[in-house]
């Protein structure tokens, strides 16, 4: 048995208004963050192209973003290529189109899976590390210390990471493309009985320059997104360990979402009708 109190409509109303207020605050917060980011990105770009540059730091970041991401990206690519061949084969076999498997694989890897999966893995590996490192520097006043030592934190911390991200991701994606196609090749030839020569010929003959170039353009964009989001959230983190943790999470989530969204738009720029 339930008893309805006379003030039920009033409290319902109050709850409803509270809900609206929360939605409003969330929306305002979102707008504020967008505005801050819109100011942040031009600053980053300006400092990437004006001296002083820190070559030593850029190389250091290239090694940590590019070279040390090779295992992660390679593993992702090889297994993606393998499973893609397996699934396309069983699907295409239903209407006797198995011979199209190499073509589908090479197009999917170079156009989409190579850049997107590499981008997402880098968002997790590199974006999180950048946000955590810069965030810790922020909450321990190391960024303030840089300024008092006449060093611009945008040039010293952010520009090297962004430059390294934009240049290294395309290289990583080239590697991912090759390894992904190789993974598909191994399964096709040793498991599904394809002719090796014919498989390679079909792959090479089918892929065009624009397939690869579109993937590399995406990769550069994803490199920019990941490093800028990592730097932005780290730079604006506050409130000790918890703040740094939140910055790391937000950086990975936001750059992953931005990667997937911008992926569609770049693809439609290249291949849209």
């Amino acid at each position: 048995m339930t008893r309805v109190s006379p003030s039920a409509p009033a409290s319902l109303m109050k709850g409803f208004i509270g809900l609206l207020a929360r939605i409003g605050r969330l929306f305002l917060g979102f707008l504020a963050a967008t505005g801050r980011l819109a100011l942040f990105v031009p600053m980053v770009l300006r400092h990437c192209f004006t001296p002083p540059f820190y070559p030593r730091l850029i190389v250091q970041q290239m090694v940590s973003i590019g070279y040390f991401s090779l295992p992660v990206v390679g593993l992702t690519a090889v297994f993606t290529g393998m499973v893609l061949v397996l699934q396309t084969y069983t699907g295409f076999a239903r209407f006797s189109a198995e011979s199209a498997v190499p073509n589908v694989l090479v197009i999917s890897i170079t156009r989409e899976l190579g850049p997107v999966l590499a981008g997402l893995m880098i968002a997790g590996r590199v974006g999180a590390a950048i946000a955590a490192e810069i965030g810790t520097m922020r909450v321990t006043e190391q960024i303030d210390a840089l300024t008092t030592l006449s060093t611009n934190p945008f040039k010293y911390l952010i520009a090297p990471r962004v430059i390294a991200g934009v240049t290294m991701l395309p290289l990583l994606v080239l590697v991912a493309d090759s390894i992904g196609v190789f993974g598909g090749y191994v399964i096709s030839v040793y498991n599904l009985g394809f002719n090796p020569t014919l498989y390679l010929k079909n792959s090479w003959g089918f892929v065009t320059q624009i397939d690869i170039i579109s993937g590399l353009v995406k990769a550069a964009l994803f490199g920019f997104i990941v490093t800028v989001m990592g730097c932005y959230h780290g730079y604006h983190s506050k409130g000790g360990a918890q703040g740094v943790g939140a910055a790391t999470t937000t950086s990975v989530v936001s750059s992953s979402i931005l990667i997937l969204c911008s992926n569609y738009f770049v693809a439609s720029l290249f291949f849209g009708t």
Binding site: Q142, D144, S150
Partner: protein, 255 residues
């Protein structure tokens, strides 16, 4: 005596919370000024405004007669070369070794070659009582007192004209605190610099300061020679320097 830093009617608010409510202050050349005040009285904000890390809402900050609030980032960076800062928790760069931390301002700020900067860094480390071997360690591998010394060495490495100290003795045991106080006094004298210290440690304030000013609710409520602080005739100052819970200063304590 000429004024090194001249602050007039400085105001800064965060949202509806007023932190600095018209601060006026003078730092004479070769003088050591200590600003005392409770937690949340706006000491750190004042320091960050002077260093250009925060932009005040209104008021004037002049360094050697030059208004620095409107200074361009490039000008600001040049001004900062003449200043040194010891942060409360050191703020040492943990990705660099101790000597690289000390030499940072020389290498990155002034473009001194690594080898020469290292020589200076080792000299400055010796000045704060640290051996050359410590220079090769990382900041995380040394104790809190040593980190404070490294921070001090970094602050004086570029032979600045003004040195800022943010709560230099916080988090140290009383003996180490006194050692740091002695070092600060000596370094400021040797460098012929002016010093601005913010602290709530009265032992430290008496030792370091030629003059003391008290910040309360965003205003300077008393200032005078360090020796005169016992006869301030201000109940606020008396309560603070004797550390009494009862008095005109009511700390915001949540029940």
């Amino acid at each position: 005596m000429s004024q090194k830093i001249r602050i007039r009617d400085l105001r800064k608010s965060f949202g509806s919370k007023t932190v600095l409510d018209g601060v006026s202050l003078d730092l004479e050349a070769h003088q050591s000024l200590v600003i005392i005040g409770g937690s949340g009285s706006g000491k750190s904000v004042l320091l960050k405004c002077i260093l250009g890390l925060l932009r005040p809402d209104s008021g004037q900050i002049e360094i050697d007669g030059e208004d620095v609030i409107a200074a361009s980032p490039a000008r600001r960076s040049l001004l900062n070369q003449r200043m040194g800062m010891l942060f409360q928790n050191g703020a040492l760069f943990d990705s660099l070794t101790v000597w690289e931390n000390v030499a940072f301002g020389l290498m990155e700020g002034r473009g001194m070659p690594r080898h020469d900067a290292r020589v200076v860094a080792i000299k400055k480390l010796a000045q704060v009582g640290l051996e050359e071997q410590v220079g090769e360690l990382r900041p995380s591998e040394i104790s809190g007192g040593m980190q404070k010394r490294v921070g001090l060495a970094r602050a004086i490495a570029t032979d600045p004209e003004v040195i800022f100290f943010d709560e230099p003795t916080t988090g140290l045991d009383p003996i180490m605190g006194d050692i740091i106080n002695d070092l600060i006094v000596r370094c400021v004298k040797e460098a012929k610099a002016s010093a601005l210290t913010i602290t709530h440690d009265m032992a430290s304030a008496r030792k370091i300061g030629d003059r003391i000013a008290m910040l309360y609710q965003g205003k300077i409520i008393w200032s005078g020679a360090a020796a005169e602080i016992e006869q301030s005739h201000s109940p606020h100052v008396d309560q603070f320097i004797h550390g009494r819970a009862e008095g005109p200063i009511k700390m915001a304590v949540r029940a």
